[in-house]
């Protein structure tokens, strides 16, 4: 009993020494906080990453892409302008000129609308205004070129009409002589007309001037030839010549018209090329800007992609770390709480089942506290149980074993004797005339007497295996293992002597002045073949006791069962 107590104390001390106390509340707090913190961290990271990604996307969609779109549209318009301008410059008639000019104006108006867009290049508007003016001037030049062309055609037509008139009038009035006379005139006239129509096809100023000089010579020749003509024809010829001169070499004549045409044509072509270049210059800037913008947007997109990749990596890494930490947290909860609760449960069950399980709940927290408390409770209960048990097997008065203890013990010792093949002796003794003693000294003294006797006999039981119990009333019993008849006689005698030595006065005893006992013993050799029952042993011991009483008490009778 005292051993168990000592070991429990040692265990408790050891658990106290196991480490600093880590309360479960702290474990829970740390675990939950870690989980919440990780969740928060991952959420915030994801949020901020997404936010920055969204900023870049916003920039792309709200700035770069519209700027690109605008500059793309502007570039498209500008390209259209170049070919429309080419067309206008080369326009071969009024209708084409008008149609192309109208289209150009529409395009310029469209561009003006685009130029007002906040994403457009601020220099565009100024450029377009200049362009508008240049285009309208180009249109004027083309118009005047077309007009000159028409005038030249008209003049040429007049020249041909005049020529027709000359040939017709001369052939109508012709007679033999006159034909010869006016052949020269007619031929030179025809030469002039041919030369005039050639002028219309020349595109070199110097050649026109050269032709002009020849025309002047030819016209001079014509005016001389008039004098050779018959007089009737002279005045008509003179009118025709003057008309021809008027049509060809005056300041408004064909030559002047052609020279003016070449200049206007050159100017219109030059202006057309100018406008084209003016547009292309802008297209160059605009295209380069678009190119830069595209590069910029591409670079941004690339950066975004890299950023997103990095963010995915970072978030991935953080998530993996978070998961690992969660696993650790779960492991901690599992090992610190769940496993230990299971152990505690097993431990409690074991203890309830009565198995003496080793206390194995480590740590220093509420669970170990519970385990310790349970251990303490269990221990207390065991002690109390032991006490109760002890109490039920001992005699309340004398403190020696009682009849129940004897019943338990006798079976055990018989078995033992059978196993070891040794003799067993049961001694039964009884206080002589105890009723008289009670009557004379009272029950309280009687009880005291029994206590003294018991104590005296207990001291006689020298071997550890010797059992001694109060059998009931004033009757006591001893069970002596490995004790033969001689031993029985010796022990019986020792008991008689011990009581006598007590010398407890018993004045009413008819046989002695002191308290005496009668002893009956039985010795048996139980074996497997012949098992002696406790009842039999008791009965024979009782018979021996009876016989001792019969013989006068204060003596012993020892029997043996064969």
């Amino acid at each position: 009993m005292s051993n168990t107590k000592a070991s429990a104390t040692t265990k408790a001390n050891a658990s106290w020494l196991r480490g600093k106390r880590v309360p479960l509340s702290a474990v829970f707090l740390v675990s939950i906080s870690t989980i919440i913190f990780l969740f928060f961290l991952v959420s915030m990271l994801a949020f901020f990453r997404l936010q920055s990604f969204s900023d870049i996307l916003t920039e792309l969609t709200e700035e770069s892409v519209p700027s690109l779109a605008i500059s793309g549209r502007i570039f498209g318009k500008v390209n259209q302008l170049t070919y429309l301008t080419e067309g206008l410059t080369r326009a071969q008639n009024e209708v084409v000129r008008r149609v192309l000019y109208t289209q150009l104006q529409e395009q310029v108006a469209d561009l003006q609308v685009l130029a007002v867009d906040p994403n457009a290049d601020p220099a565009l508007l100024a450029h377009i205004q200049g362009l508008d003016l240049e285009i309208s001037e180009l249109n004027q030049l083309v118009k005047s070129r077309l007009e000159t062309e028409a005038t030249i055609q008209k003049t040429l037509d007049s020249v041909y009409q005049l020529y027709n008139a000359v040939t017709v009038s001369q052939s109508e009035q012709a007679d033999e002589d006159q034909i010869i006379d006016n052949t020269n005139w007619k031929n030179v006239f025809a030469d002039v007309v041919a030369m005039a129509s050639r002028v219309a096809t020349l595109d070199r100023l110097a050649e026109i001037r050269q032709t002009e000089r020849r025309l002047e010579e030819q016209l001079g020749e014509l005016s001389e030839l008039i004098l050779v003509l018959p007089e009737s024809q002279q005045s008509a010829a003179d009118t025709q010549l003057q008309a021809l001169q008027e049509l060809i070499i005056t300041k408004t004549g064909l030559v002047a018209q052609k020279i003016s045409h070449l200049r206007t044509k050159g100017r219109a072509t030059g202006r057309g090329n100018f406008v084209r270049n003016f547009i292309l210059d802008y297209a160059g800037m605009s295209e380069y800007r678009a190119y830069q913008l595209t590069e910029d947007t591409l670079a941004k997109s690339k950066r975004t992609t890299t950023l997103v990749k990095n963010q995915i990596n970072i978030l991935g890494t953080i998530s993996v770390i978070a998961i690992l930490i969660l696993i650790v947290v779960i492991y901690v909860i599992q090992s610190r709480i769940v496993t230990r609760l299971e152990k505690l449960n097993d431990f409690v069950r074991d203890r309830l089942a009565g198995r003496d399980t080793r206390f194995a709940i480590s740590g220093n927290d509420e669970i170990s506290d519970i385990a310790k408390s349970f251990e303490t409770f269990a221990h207390t209960i065991e002690e109390q149980k032991q006490i109760l048990e002890d109490m039920s097997l001992s005699d309340g008065l004398t403190g020696v074993a009682n009849r129940r203890a004897f019943d338990k013990r006798i079976d055990h010792d018989i078995q033992l004797a059978v196993r070891h093949q040794w003799p067993i002796t049961v001694i039964l003794f009884d206080v002589d005339h105890f009723k008289l003693y009670n009557d004379s000294y009272g029950h309280a003294v009687g009880d005291e007497c029994l206590k003294e006797l018991a104590t005296a006999i207990k001291n006689v039981m020298r071997r550890e295996q010797d059992f001694f119990a109060r059998y009931g009333g004033e009757e006591f019993v001893c069970v002596l293992s490995d004790t033969d008849l001689a031993g029985a006689k010796t022990v019986s005698n020792t008991i008689l002597e011990a009581i006598r030595n007590q010398a407890i006065p018993h004045i009413k005893s008819p046989i002695s002045e002191h308290v005496t006992v009668s002893v009956g013993s039985v010795t048996a050799r139980p074996s497997k073949d012949r098992i002696t029952s406790p009842i039999e042993l008791l009965k024979r011991a009782d018979e021996a006791l009876y016989e001792a009483k019969e013989r006068g008490r204060n003596r012993q009778v020892n029997v043996q069962i064969e």
Partner: protein, 492 residues
């Protein structure tokens, strides 16, 4: 003023008066474009009895602010009023490349002669131009040839056209002209090549007109002379050459040549009206004030071709910020106005177009450090003769020694404070002109790999104008980007 001509007593003597001038790129400019005065001269000469041929030596389609816009179309327009008998193509006619020149030829009411140009695309003279022309003046047939010196491609890189040996071409064309009846063969040229003298002596050509207003600046060339070689060595001059051709005489051609200063002729009101129209139109395009100067600037020929220049720094910085290149290299020859600007002066678009009259376009190249060093050496190789190749830079600092022999002058180059790495690639912004090997920068043309440029690269002038407009005020400075140790003051 009247030109007196030698009247001929002989019936078979043929007379002609040539009027020759060239180098008039800036319409309305007294020095470089007195077209209205030229018109008066022409009227006076044409009023004479003798046949007149007006030969225009070219060198006028560019550069000028207006040409920066229309690539010389207005020059053709004004010439159409002056009615030249022929125009020779000279180097400045390539300011805007051969295709633009072809376009001009279609605007011209006169032939434009280029006898030693070959366009592989059409397998002949570039479209619109003629390799020779035969003009009839009274009873005289005159053949005209015109050549450019092969060195033209160094200053004016052509897209396709090739310059073929002028001497050979003159010989061939002169023969062809004579076969078609030319009694006189006249050569227009712009570089004092020695072969001309030989051909005059051999009778391959009869008369030669040379125009080179910058001739006195060229120190390396020995100028030769020949009685039938007429030299215009100054701006605003015209040669009036009276010729008598007599096949029976031992000296079949006699000439009497006069150099007249155009400023002695009153402006012709018609042409004045025409040129005023251009000025007004140009002002309309260029008058916009874009910026104000906070420091003075000098763009004289010497200032932009002999050392670091504040305006050039402004230019290279604008290009650097526009292209976002690592470094910028431009040649001083693209800066043309030769002006001095005071502090506080307002800068207009026109000023910039005057400074940058060539339609230079920006190009970006991905090139190695060693190529940049080669380019700098090229840029510094002709310091003595103030060639247009002098390099102006941004994004790098160059230390050089002008006393060292050419191609060994660069001492140190740093980019972003780090010494240049010969094998490292840098993004360099320059002009298309230099990228195509102009001004001796062949190393740019022969670079490895292409760079991503757009179809219509923007003009330098537009970039600078945009940049200056954004800045509002500009403070151009010399910032030790190009340091000549020879010019360091002691103790520096």
């Amino acid at each position: 003023m009247l030109i007196t001509l030698v009247a001929s007593a002989w019936a078979d003597e043929k007379n002609i008066t040539f009027v020759f001038t060239a180098d008039m790129p800036v319409v309305g400019d007294e020095r470089k474009g007195a077209y209205s005065r030229l018109a008066t001269l022409l009227k006076e000469v044409r009023a004479q009895e003798t046949e007149t041929a007006f030969l225009f030596g070219g060198a006028s389609l560019g550069p000028s602010p207006m040409s920066g816009f229309d690539r010389g179309a207005h020059i053709i327009d004004v010439l159409n009023s002056l009615e030249p008998d022929a125009m020779g193509v000279s180097q400045r006619e390539f300011s805007y490349y051969e295709d633009e020149l072809s376009l001009r030829a279609f605007e011209a009411g006169f032939p434009m002669v280029a006898s030693n140009l070959f366009d592989p695309l059409v397998r002949s003279t570039p479209t619109g131009l003629v390799d020779r022309v035969l003009i009839e003046k009274g009873n005289l047939s005159i053949g005209i040839v015109s050549v450019v010196d092969p060195s033209v491609t160094e200053e004016y890189p052509l897209e396709r056209a090739q310059v073929i040996d002028p001497s050979e071409q003159v010989k061939v064309k002169a023969l062809q002209l004579r076969a078609s009846g030319a009694q006189l063969v006249v050569l227009l040229y712009s570089h004092p090549s020695l072969f001309v003298k030989k051909q005059l002596e051999q009778g391959v050509i009869d008369l030669a007109f040379l125009t080179d207003p910058d001739l006195d600046i060229r120190s390396e060339e020995t100028v030769w002379s020949h009685p039938r070689n007429v030299l215009l060595s100054r701006y605003a001059q015209a040669a009036v050459v009276s010729c008598s051709l007599n096949e029976n005489e031992s000296e079949r051609l006699t000439i009497e040549s006069k150099l007249l200063n155009l400023d002695q002729f009153a402006p012709d009101p018609e042409v004045v009206a025409q040129t005023t129209g251009y000025s007004m139109r140009l002002n309309r395009l260029l008058d916009e004030q874009i910026s104000q100067l906070k420091a003075p600037m000098d763009t004289s020929r010497k200032a932009v071709r002999s050392g670091e220049n504040a305006f050039a720094n402004l230019l290279t910085d604008a290009i650097k910020s526009f292209t976002q290149a690592d470094v910028v290299l431009l040649n001083g020859g693209i800066i043309r106005a030769e002006k001095y600007y005071q502090e506080g002066e307002l800068i207009t678009r026109g000023d910039i177009f005057q400074e940058l009259p060539f339609r230079n376009k920006v190009a970006t190249l991905d090139i190695k450090g060693k190529v940049i060093i080669q380019a700098l050496e090229n840029g510094l190789s002709m310091l003595e003769s103030l060639e247009g190749r002098f390099p102006h830079v941004a994004g790098m600092q160059v230390t050089y020694d002008s006393r060292l022999p050419a191609k060994e002058r660069v001492l140190k180059v740093t980019i972003d404070g780090e010494p240049i790495a010969p094998e490292k690639n840098y993004l360099l912004a320059t002009t298309q002109y230099l990228a195509e090997g102009g001004d001796g920068y062949w190393m740019f043309k022969e670079r490895e790999g292409e760079s991503g440029n757009t179809k219509f690269p923007p003009l330098l002038s537009d970039i600078v104008i945009t940049n200056m407009r954004q800045q509002g005020q500009i403070n151009p400075q010399i910032e030790n980007r190009m340091v000549d140790v020879a010019k360091r003051k002691p103790g520096e």
